[in-house]
Assembly symmetry: C2
Homo-oligomer: 498 residues x 2
């Protein structure tokens, strides 16, 4: 750690010590990196106090709520905000568990069940270097380290804005003594200047209409620092019933030492397993997968999973000058294998969780859909040992019948496992899932080919997926929310002048 706090950027490459943890004996020491220098410390420290100069690019900016936030939190766990109510629990393994999520129906005023329980169940982070000191770097951070145990206290005003509520985690230490992880989770309202819904009429209709409603959301956030990497997990609730689950990656890359200081020294045929980020430093290619457990309870526990295929159909030439159009074809999943989904851009579907026994006024089954956004799929060989352990990433979506034993996608005990207790094994039992208490699993993925901008600490990269009401409400549930009016907005002064 000499000359920098960023010791991750100064690897002693190729030095491996094999220890027998039972006998506590060193079995083998190998040093294959004698010709590889330790990278220099220069330009690696990221701390504010260690910078020679600062870029002051921006005037102060803040989300302000002069009348305070709109949420209340009862018993330090039950969150009530706008039309939402849910329970929040810091968990040593999952990080944050959201449960009993209910949204108020604007028509009846009744709180309706959406999700019984949701959390990040497991991660899989394989590094793409099969050589000696690297092949075993295929992390499963929740089961191996505890995603919650690695969630450090959040930094007020930076990790979360003003007016955030902070929740502590209380966990048992290895000897059973309880300890407090302070400020582990935050809850805040977010307004980015975005729009909830809008419409303006064109002059052609002669109607002077311009109706716009702002979008304000409630964010639940934690940040796990699993050694070098930082994962920011957000559960974002919208008043229109949508829940967005967002994962951000930041922190520090895991890098490899090299004798190279410039790409002009590298033979075109040579595989560096990554990108030369700085002199003697390679950022190794890797993937990140985060698999979410989503026990949906749409208006009750018995639900079905419906794959709505969007398919090309052909019309007859007589019918129309068109040749083709798209139609939506609904397929109810009978058993687990019907719900093993690989996403395809040219064979698209919507993925609904419906309550088959509850219909809207005009007869559509009430439902929520999972809406993937940017993601990545694991391309490792299915018989590769790490991929067997991480087999829960073999599909992007799975649906299982609820079982109290099936909550951790990589298995209850992850260390030394061979993949005998993963989501893939459970799902292949092919149990019935129609009109049952079902659990939806969604995996968010990232391929990460490092670039120099990630050195010495990386700007956040995020992706997300949504749980979105689909014929759950009779109509737009926020039709009658008011717009912003100038008279309601705060009057602010710069702190220095106050």
């Amino acid at each position: 750690m000499k000359d920098t706090a960023n010791f991750y950027m100064r690897p002693i490459e190729g030095l491996t010590v094999l220890v027998d943890l039972d006998t506590k004996e060193v079995v083998e020491i190998t040093d294959k990196g004698r010709n590889i220098p330790i990278p220099k410390a220069a330009n690696t420290d990221y701390r504010f106090s260690a910078q020679n100069s600062h870029q002051n690019l921006l005037n102060p900016i803040s989300i302000e709520q002069p009348k305070g936030p709109s949420y209340t939190i009862e018993d330090d766990h039950l969150v009530k905000w706008a039309n939402w109510e849910f329970h929040l629990k810091p968990d040593p393994r999952a990080g944050v568990i959201v449960s009993g999520a209910k949204v108020r129906d604007p028509g009846t005023g009744i709180l309706r069940n959406v999700m019984y329980k949701g959390f990040s169940s497991e991660l899989f982070v394989p590094y793409m270097d099969p050589t000696d000191a690297w092949y075993f770097k295929t992390y499963m951070d929740a089961g191996e380290y505890g995603f919650g145990l690695q969630a450090m206290p959040l930094d007020p005003l930076n990790d979360c804005p003003r007016n955030a509520y902070y929740m502590d985690g209380v966990f048992p230490a290895a000897d059973g003594t309880p300890y407090v992880r302070s400020n582990m989770v935050c809850v805040f309202e977010s307004y980015a200047g975005d729009i909830g819904w809008r419409h303006a009429e064109s002059p052609i209709t002669g109607m002077e209409i311009r109706e716009v409603r702002p979008k304000v959301t409630l964010v639940v956030r934690m940040a796990a620092s699993v050694a070098n990497y930082d994962y920011i997990v957000d559960w974002e609730f919208q008043t229109d019933g949508l829940i967005r689950v967002k994962v951000g990656l930041s922190g520090i890359l895991m890098v490899k030492g090299t004798s190279y200081v410039n790409m002009n020294q590298v033979n075109q045929q040579e595989n560096l397993f990554g990108t030369l980020l700085s002199e003697n430093v390679i950022g190794v290619i890797h993937d990140h997968y985060i698999t979410f457990y989503l026990d949906m309870d749409v208006d009750g526990s018995n639900n079905s999973f419906v794959k709505v295929n969007i398919e090309r159909a052909y019309n007859s030439p007589k019918e129309s000058p068109r040749r083709s159009y798209l139609k939506a074809v609904k397929n109810v999943a009978k058993t687990e294998k019907d719900a093993q989904i690989k996403l395809k851009l040219y064979d698209p579907s919507e993925f609904h969780v419906i309550n088959p026994s509850k219909k809207t006024r005009v007869g559509n089954p009430v439902g929520y859909k999972v809406v993937p956004a940017g993601t990545a799929a694991s391309l490792l060989d299915l018989d590769d040992p790490p991929q067997k352990r991480g087999a829960f990433t073999n599909n992007q979506i799975w649906v299982t019948p609820y079982s109290q034993k099936e909550q951790w996608a990589g298995g209850l005990f992850v260390y030394q496992s061979h993949g005998e207790d993963t989501l893939a094994v459970w799902s292949n039992r092919n149990r019935p899932i129609e009109n049952k208490d079902i659990v939806l699993w969604y995996t968010l993925g990232f391929h990460h080919v490092p670039c120099q901008e990630d050195f010495p600490i990386m700007p956040i990269v995020s992706s997300s997926f949504d749980l979105k009401p689909v014929n759950f409400f009779e109509s737009n549930p926020i039709l009658n929310i008011p717009p912003n009016f100038e008279k309601d907005l705060p009057i602010c002064n710069a702190a220095a002048s106050a």
Copy 2:
């Protein structure tokens, strides 16, 4: 328009009038919808003034900047913000044109070119009903209506937050007289409580480190109301060099009348071409495609397009207990056909625009990459007349050599066109594109199967793509920005108490 401002929800179904615009004669009147009632007006009006009651879910919330915004706008067009500088121009056809986008290198202090010009070139919105009154609804909104001409004045405090700058559009009317479209574009700084980069050390290292930087962005926004639909187009600039282009859909669905009032009246085999949204109202399935013209000039005009394939590789059993890993294989596109890209989850790539004659200190070519997020691909038959006109959606990415004649992806003249002047035709000439002034084209897509929540006006649905620096900077360009400090944040009061 009786009893509601939302006349879109009261279609007179099946009544078609065929007019010869040359002779101004009615050629044919057909009425195939005599048995279809006009849907009722109840619950369709979305105006604030027309609501019987309001849901006041939230306390006031606002983005506040007591020292004012950090941007300056010179000559009403040249935007300077943080480390960015670019020119902004309202355009009758494209909506907003961003040009001369440059970012300041934190090492040298020099402004470096990123993008010569970027704008939404064309839209394609095919409705998926091939029958009489619907088959021709396959809109190309930029070329047919003018995306900018349909951009109505923005609503301050709701379309854009406080402290936004509003820019007018000045366009010629049909008779050549100039007119002013006021408040057509807004520019504002956004802070949603998000994180720019962070890292915390775990107790295991014994280092008390928690470094977090907030993320503040600059948004350029316009909202086009193309009859019933509203498109919100955002160009969002980040201090880390990333540009996010986001398209939001809101407004009112195009609906079809039906005699049905409940799905229990519908034979399972019958194709409604959409979803029953309310009594006698079907929301017809449709797609939205928005194709962006992105003339990248990464550190100069001569650039190359590099497809970085992420491929599975196998190691020998001797080498490692692993079987497989992923490697990044670079393929420089020589001609246009090399750069006709269909995205595939299981055959992933990064898509770089590099300057082959400019390298970083350690020898990587400087570049920007286009990063797709959620999108959709057109599935219409390639020989379908509307798809021929919208053939610019046949791939998600294309690269062409710059040509002054090739700016409008659906052709310069869109009405009555047969697809003879589209991006697909130009690209199939297969011209050389290596180390040339190249234009990158990206198409953002949405399949829209309507749901009841979209009635009578739809909550916004958004998707985006990014232009992200990749070895453009020597290292993280915002390493030395300061965190938020309490002393810098404003002191605010509720307006009523001020």
